[in-house]
Symmetry: C2
Subunit: 410 residues, 2 copies
């Protein structure tokens, strides 16, 4: 069972979480619980680290030492794990907290956004088998050198799935503030439907293409270790929920399962780039070195046989770094000029049924065209089609596609 | 260097602490720093644990699970250790935090008030020798079973001295909100003088008899390992300070070095107890079993040769437990009745010079008698005399004794 920051925001809510855990125990299940920091705590701790990193007299904060940042921020989950254990013990259950270094949750050395590398939780597993509830501090682990590490924002989902895989859990229940995974964002499309089931591959695309319900890395681990993972609401735990499962376990395969969108997109175009071998690596090598994750790429057909236009996308946060990297190599790349646009968004349709249904992409293009929405860039994979459009059309596009693929609730 | 909660109450003060550390490094010294939680943090965390331990619907809080209490409360010092390390690194110094389990600071299993049993800090010592500043989370350690433990209130002083002993430090500087150890509490006696030096034995008596400047256990460890320990002010570090040292290092030995007082006293009298062998153990055995620390004891001379009155003291917090233990054994002890009084206080004069100066105690008794103060109980050791008096006379008694022993500042 995993509970996020809103679910453990104060002692009253922690008590509610404890009753959900108790219910699970009374059903005869053995339980490990993964908890986030109380809502607001992490932000407070992060603000302190930024404040501490500001040299005397300077107005701008430097980046805090990342290893020590982890020591400070990990305290948030430690506090929740202790408080929930106290609550469970006070209710007559047997519980103990497990911090990242105690489990252990082994991670890489990239402090601040470490990657889980293994959860050899044999002591904890023994404790659980002996009837003790294990309350695990999410979001944290232990890096080489026995230093505290954190996984970066949203990392508690990943902790939960990795712990479930590590102890061989029969199921991983992610309790959150929504009651499942929807066909698309219900704030944009009121007719969005909750999905009973979604294939791991689909959820992975949904998460990485903008759906915020689960962190991408957590879905990867669930898929890799085939952990049956449920998303359900802390506040209405008996209503609905969505199960992440194997493709074979989904009987009715519609062409499109869900629609995701992302506004965190920026587009860069290099005009009149020489159309010769090696030019792509001259561009994308330096971008990779600058830590820019290039997403969509399109190269126009050369008109004059000598030059071409090349467009790619990255996140808005990476845009300044991307422009700087390109401009630093202007001599080598020999483009005429470079333009950029941050008022763009990516809309994606996702579905394992796509493999069996031809013509899914053309329905997308026609639907958008009918609404007068211009497609700037296209990228596809076996189970998704993504298009880049002007940001102002996001809601219109998502609603039109939701209807076109017959996803609207009755 | 050790800094308490007021010294690290916010980021501004943590920055000030960092400048004091930097100054020490610039003097060519290698430094370990022990920090408390930011003032107010511990109280907040403790309140949360009490809240979490309250069963649903109950108005009274149960005692929280002590092992999990430690997990929650230890987060306070963890946060400060990380923040000070970030600040030092941002100032261009090389620093890293060390939590109790990382040092390690090994403690007993008595969660909530664990006792330090050893500080085999070889890795940390190597890091310090390599020029890194070690920032140690005070107040915490690691108990058997690799569980986080805390030392109880004021434990950071003890952490500091134990770490100093563990790494073989040349000096332990306890930075606090006063600039040293005074002849008595300056809030009661404005003419109290700061002591340049005080012998370990004297400081131990001062601390255990009510002086709040250092925790008793920290002085014990300083004395045991002969750690030269200084008490000085975070806010005026260049003024004064008091050095704890060997008796031989103090040249001028006055009969009385300091006067301590404690209001946390309660007196219990058993009337008409049979005057026969074994009665003392029938009384004090059950008290020890109930966890009552009996302090002063006086037995009146038997008037009739058959019964006597027996009086003893304990802390006010222990009074209900003490009365319950006595009343449960009423049949066995066979006293006529039991009375108690919490409006009492203990006044103590302390000084290694007492050994060489006869008549020190009689000066005390005469001084109090001259002021019309009745002495209820007396207890003595080689270097102190303590008396129990009515609480309302505390200030008067301390001031009179301070003058009588010529401790007033010119």
């Amino acid at each position: 069972m995993k509970f996020g920051g809103t679910s453990v925001a104060d002692i009253e809510r922690i008590r509610h979480v404890a009753t959900l855990v108790k219910r699970e125990v009374e059903r005869g299940n053995k339980v490990a619980v993964v908890v986030s920091a109380m809502a607001g705590e992490t932000n407070k701790l992060v603000a302190w680290t930024n404040d501490a990193a500001r040299p005397e007299g300077a107005s701008r904060a430097e980046l805090p030492d990342q290893r020590e940042y982890d020591v400070v921020v990990a305290a948030g989950e430690q506090i929740t794990a202790g408080l929930l254990s106290i609550t469970l013990n006070a209710m007559g259950l047997k519980a103990r907290s497990w911090l990242g270094w105690q489990v252990p949750i082994n991670t890489s050395a990239v402090h601040g956004s470490a990657r889980i590398e293994g959860v050899p939780a044999s002591d904890m597993k023994t404790a659980i088998e002996n009837g003790e509830i294990a309350v695990v501090a999410g979001f944290q682990g232990v890096a080489p050198g026995v230093r505290i590490s954190t996984l970066g924002r949203g990392g508690s989902d990943t902790s939960a799935v990795a712990v479930a895989a590590g102890i061989g859990a029969a199921r991983c229940d992610i309790y959150t503030d929504v009651d499942g995974v929807y066909t698309t964002d219900p704030r944009i499309v009121p007719k969005a439907r909750r999905l009973e089931k979604i294939a791991y591959e689909e959820m992975l695309e949904m998460a990485s293409l903008g759906a915020k319900v689960l962190q991408t890395r957590s879905v990867e681990i669930a898929m890799l270790h085939r952990v049956p993972t449920r998303v359900l609401s802390t506040f209405t735990p008996d209503v609905g929920g969505t199960l992440l499962c194997d493709e074979e376990d989904i009987v009715e395969k519609k062409p499109v399962t869900g629609i995701a969108y992302s506004r965190d997109e920026a587009k860069i175009t290099l005009h009149k780039v020489p159309d010769r071998p090696g030019v792509a690596s001259a561009i994308f090598g330096p971008l990779a070195d600058a830590g820019v994750n290039v997403d969509m790429i399109v190269q126009n057909v050369s008109e004059d046989g000598k030059t071409t236009d090349l467009t790619f996308t990255c996140t808005r946060g990476e845009l300044p770094r991307a422009l700087a990297a390109i401009e630093a190599r202007a001599q080598e790349i020999q483009y005429r000029d470079v333009t950029h646009d941050s008022a763009v968004a990516k809309i994606s349709i996702i579905g394992i049924g796509m493999r069996a249904h031809p013509g899914v992409a053309s329905t997308m293009f026609r639907t958008l065209s009918d609404k007068g929405i211009n497609i700037q860039v296209i990228s596809t994979s076996e189970i998704k089609v993504s298009v880049l459009i002007a940001e102002e059309y996001v809601e219109l596009a998502v609603r039109a596609l939701h209807s076109a693929y017959e996803l609207d609730a009755a």
